[in-house]
Amino acid sequence: MQVTMTVNGQTVSRDVEPRTLLVHFLRDHVGLTGTNVGCDTSSCGACTVHVNGESVKSCTMLAVQADGQEVTTIEGLASAEGELHPMQKAFQENHGLQCGFCTPGMVMAATSFLKENPHPTEAEVRLGLEGNLCRCTGYHNIVKSVLAAAASAGE
């Protein structure tokens, strides 16, 4: 089936089987491998992307369901000139990662979360990221990064 969607501002169109998952569409058909496959069962959040601006687990959505929609991946967060998104900067400055595998999903979940709750408490950040697992258990600095990004947006 022909599937056409906007990925990181660019229109992409591919002929795929209906059973193609969005995450495989992005990685294998479009070549954007920043989005990781972790648990593959909608638990870990490593595959989190935005669909129409909201966080979605791309292992649990068919590419055909995203036909005509706007998808943003970790590759699409920085500006065209390469300037990092404030959330990416906050993760860098606060060392919000250890091995880095969960990071793209964490950053995408966190940016979606701050849109819904721009001034969260620490407890709200932890709850807002409950769908994203860090198997290094590096949550402390991840939460710190999200709080820093929220504070920097208010400056």
Binding site: M1, E17, P18, R19, T20, L21, H24, D40, T41, S42, S43, G45, T48, V51, E54, S55, V56, K57, T60, M61, L62, V64, Q65, D67, A109, S112, F113, E116, L127, G128, E130, G131, N132
Partner: protein, 271 residues
């Protein structure tokens, strides 16, 4: 993991979805896909055709209709969670929707999908059971309504027949106390046991993951409605109920949890 092959059709209307279902032995509806796709990826379900109703925006609404709130089947958990109408008129439903999965799951999952899936371990089926909600079901023959008490039939089995589409859930407004107690050990897990209590005139209590369908704790309900103490009523939580044993909990532990959670829920709903 990916599902086995299937044909995909995007329905332009409820009527079109019904006609495709009628013409197929095993076509399945998909909306958010957060119950169906995991089953298909594990090859526990392999429908030959998926009928995508996810874009039928006429099935996404939350409307105040006087004595009840009507909710379109495609209303997402996130929309239930943030709805001012629900927070005001049926606060437990808004709260329970916010307990489903995690934020990304709630951006995709729909109330109709969760109820049509009919998982006894899910939050929303138990909530609509405690609320005495009514399901509105459409088919080629017209429309019928089914009370929640006779909607859930067995393990992942509901009163919906092939060719029928759940279009709307009608939920009576509540004015009394309520509580939802979800016991799990990790963030975003399914409830090992959950309890919903709605006090609206009489008291109704439903149980999550205590059987193959969501269940009413009838013995506890009768006791509390006839003037028994909360302690006495809670003691009867699993009377006549045969809970499952699995990796998370033995049947005996589930019975214990049900009593503890019914007590806590009744206390919170009575405060």
């Amino acid at each position: 993991m990916f599902p086995s092959t299937f044909d995909y059709v995007r329905a332009g209307s409820v009527a079109e979805a019904i006609s495709i279902l009628d013409g197929s032995e095993d076509a399945k509806l998909i909306a958010g896909g957060h119950s169906l796709l995991p089953l298909m990826k594990l090859r526990l379900a392999a429908p030959s055709t998926l009928v995508d109703i996810g874009r039928l925006s006429e099935l996404s609404f939350i409307e105040d209709r006087g004595d009840h709130v009507a909710i379109g089947a495609l209303t997402r958990h996130r929309d239930l969670e943030t709805s001012a109408v629900l927070k005001n008129s049926v606060p437990i439903l808004s709260h329970v929707a916010g307990e489903v999965g995690d934020p990304a799951v709630r951006h995709r999952g729909t109330i109709g999908g969760s109820i049509a899936h009919g998982d006894g371990a899910s939050d929303l089926p138990a909530a609509v059971l405690a609320l005495d909600a009514t399901m509105v079901v459409r088919s080629a023959a017209g429309e019928r309504t089914v009370p929640a008490t006779s909607f859930f039939k067995g393990f992942l089995e509901t009163d919906l027949a092939q060719g029928e589409v759940l279009t709307e859930i009608r939920v009576p407004k509540t004015s009394g106390g309520w509580s939802y107690k979800k016991f799990n050990r990790r963030a975003q897990d399914w409830a090992i046991v959950g309890v919903a209590v709605v006090r609206n005139g009489s008291t109704r209590i439903s149980l999550v993951n205590m059987g193959s369908t969501p269940l009413r704790a009838s013995a506890s309900e009768n006791a509390i409605n006839q003037g028994a103490s909360i302690e006495e009523a809670a003691h009867l939580a699993s009377e006549g109920i045969d809970p499952p044993s699995d990796l998370n909990a033995s049947a005996e532990y589930r019975r214990h949890l049900a009593s503890v959670l019914v007590r806590r829920a009744l206390q919170e709903a009575s405060a």
